[in-house]
């Protein structure tokens, strides 16, 4: 019996009036995961792009894969394991539980809410579930991952009405929760190494001494300690290329985040607050990862084109500002993106208002 026949056979059990009808959206979720739904709208004309949410989300997951793989190798490399494959295998085993816990917790909550509210399961968590482990240190206790995932999905997303309605990026919210609730487990010297070694990250070294022990090339390739997915700027750029090529992420936001970061980096370098070159900011810490995967989140970023420029520039600028000026937070990317998430609707509002005012003036002049 083929899979299609099997799915068709068990379908009545989950449909209206069936024995397991309360699990309808779970069944629906799995069915559409396996097959493209063949139901069509009965009335009215619909013009649809073939790019549905599922395909968009899968693209982002694919774009995350290079950063994840290099991150896994880097975990083994930082632990001092020789050889590419053994190092990768070591990191893979360290990172896998975090990824599983994040997916299981988040999807369980998503399914429960979809069941309760009787709507379809959204694909949004496919990306969030992978982003969360990538922005955490690899040594983070699993219960913290579970707790912060639950917090992000319930408080960050479901209270606002689920995927597409959230104000803040759920993955960043999970990290913010973990960071503020369990600061000792999320920052400091020991959390970045899987084998008990300790040492400051490149960001901390830059913040305290103004230089780092790694070369620019190491920082670019991702051979520096840090959260799982954030270290390798090269792999992130690979993902960025895929996102831009497929049109999933906004190039305006990505570009303006880098421009904003560089501008403020140069500013601080020029006035003598920092004495390392501005492009260091783009290579160390979560700047590149945040710019490519977090700031471009289509739900929480600005929607208008002009708004996207402002939003992106402010994300980059604020991230560098927090890094340089606030000694309590060596990494500013998380806070700056969350802050701009909150301001994004306001930016859009003013862009739209200005456009209306401009066109009104146009009409007046014609008259």
């Amino acid at each position: 019996m083929g899979l299609r026949q099997f799915v068709d056979k068990i379908k009545p059990t989950f449909s209206e009036g069936g024995k397991l009808s309360f699990l309808h959206s779970t069944f629906e979720g799995f069915e559409t995961f396996l097959y493209v739904p063949n139901t069509t709208t009965q009335r009215g004309a619909h013009v649809r792009d073939c790019n549905d949410i599922k395909r968009v989300m899968i693209m982002v997951v694919l774009a995350l894969v290079p950063a994840m793989l290099v991150g896994m190798y880097n975990v083994g490399y930082q632990a001092g394991i020789e050889g590419i494959l053994p190092a990768f295998w070591f990191g893979f085993l360290k990172a896998l539980p975090t990824i599983i816990v994040s997916y299981v917790t988040g999807l369980a909550i998503e399914f429960a809410f979809a069941q309760k509210r009787k709507h379809e399961i959204n694909e949004g968590f496919l990306v969030t579930g992978l982003l969360i482990p990538l922005v955490m240190p690899v040594t983070v206790p699993l219960w913290i991952v579970a707790l912060s995932t639950a917090f992000a999905v319930i408080i960050g997303k479901e209270v606002f009405g689920g995927t597409g309605m959230n104000v803040f990026n759920p993955a960043l919210l999970a990290r913010a929760f973990a960071f503020f609730a369990y600061t000792p487990q999320m920052s400091g010297e020991a959390v970045w190494y899987a084998d008990g070694k300790t040492g400051a990250t490149a960001l901390e070294q830059l913040a305290t001494t103004g230089d780092m022990q790694w070369s620019v090339m190491d920082a670019f390739l991702g051979l520096i300690p840090g959260s799982l997915g954030e270290t390798s700027t090269a792999a992130i750029l690979l993902g960025a290329a895929l996102l831009l090529f497929t049109g999933v992420a906004s190039w305006r936001i990505m570009l303006s985040v880098f421009v904003g970061g560089l501008a403020f980096g140069y500013l601080f370098d020029a006035v003598g607050v920092t004495d390392y070159p501005a492009y260091y900011h783009l290579l160390v810490g979560g700047f590149a990862f945040g710019a490519v995967f977090m700031a471009t989140d289509p739900v929480t970023s600005a929607q208008t084109n002009c708004g996207k420029w402002i939003y992106g520039f402010m994300v980059g600028a604020l991230a560098v500002l927090i890094r340089v000026v606030n000694p309590a937070y060596p990494e500013g990317m998380m806070l700056s993106i969350l802050f701009m998430n909150a301001l994004a609707p306001l930016i859009d509002y003013f862009v739209v208002e200005r456009n209306i005012a401009r066109r009104k003036k146009l009409i007046k002049n014609v008259k």
Partner: protein, 200 residues
């Protein structure tokens, strides 16, 4: 309105904090620990009850044009009495509460009940309404403080409850945003139960 209804209404169906969204600021500020939250709740019960009582007694003698000033004098007097009492007998708690006892004067619940209820009702009804609204406020304060102290410090009233089980304190609970989130969750649960409160 019947007296019993008058008393139970502000506790849940028309709770001043989670339905009318009044007095949120102090709910965020004094709920890190249970003890100050309880004292704050009691102080507000006292002030709302007696300001309602006094204003209800005065309601026929006060010209409507100067009623706000009279209300402020009454409320301020009561708050100062509470403040001095706390300083004399519960100095530690009064230091923890710092300015928030004095700020009861500006608590919208007190003024709101005087304006909305005491000025149009008999003294006994007004007194009961004041007590009930104070309790409604204190209830939310205590629920929020319970969760914040339990999960933030692992204690209740300063006694160790969770730490002995190897509990790791959640320091986010000690920050004010978490109080806002807990109040939000209470509102969420409350409105899921009382469907008539949900806005369309």
């Amino acid at each position: 309105m019947k007296l019993s209804k008058n008393f139970t209404n502000p506790l849940a169906a028309n709770n001043p904090v989670i339905v009318q969204i009044l007095g949120i600021c102090s709910a965020l500020a004094v709920t890190v620990k249970l003890e100050p939250a309880c004292v704050m709740g009691l102080s507000v019960i006292f002030v709302t009850a007696f300001s309602n009582l006094v204003m209800s007694l005065l309601r026929n003698g006060v010209p409507s044009r100067i009623r706000i000033i009279v209300q402020l004098v009454v409320i301020a007097t009561l708050v100062i009495v509470v403040d001095q009492f706390l300083r004399a007998y519960m100095y530690d708690v009064s230091k923890q509460l710092s300015v928030y006892v004095g700020l009861i004067i500006t608590n919208c619940i007190v003024m709101g009940r005087v304006e909305a209820f005491a000025l149009g009702n008999k003294p006994w009804d007004a007194f009961v309404d004041g007590v009930a609204n104070g309790i409604g406020y204190a209830l939310i304060l205590i629920i929020v403080a319970f969760f914040r102290e339990l999960f933030g410090s692992g204690t209740l009233f300063g006694f160790d409850v969770l730490a002995r089980f190897g509990y790791v304190n959640n320091s986010l609970m000690l920050f004010p945003p978490m109080a806002l989130i807990i109040v939000g969750v209470i509102i969420w649960i409350h409105r899921s139960i009382n469907k008539d409160l949900q806005e369309k």
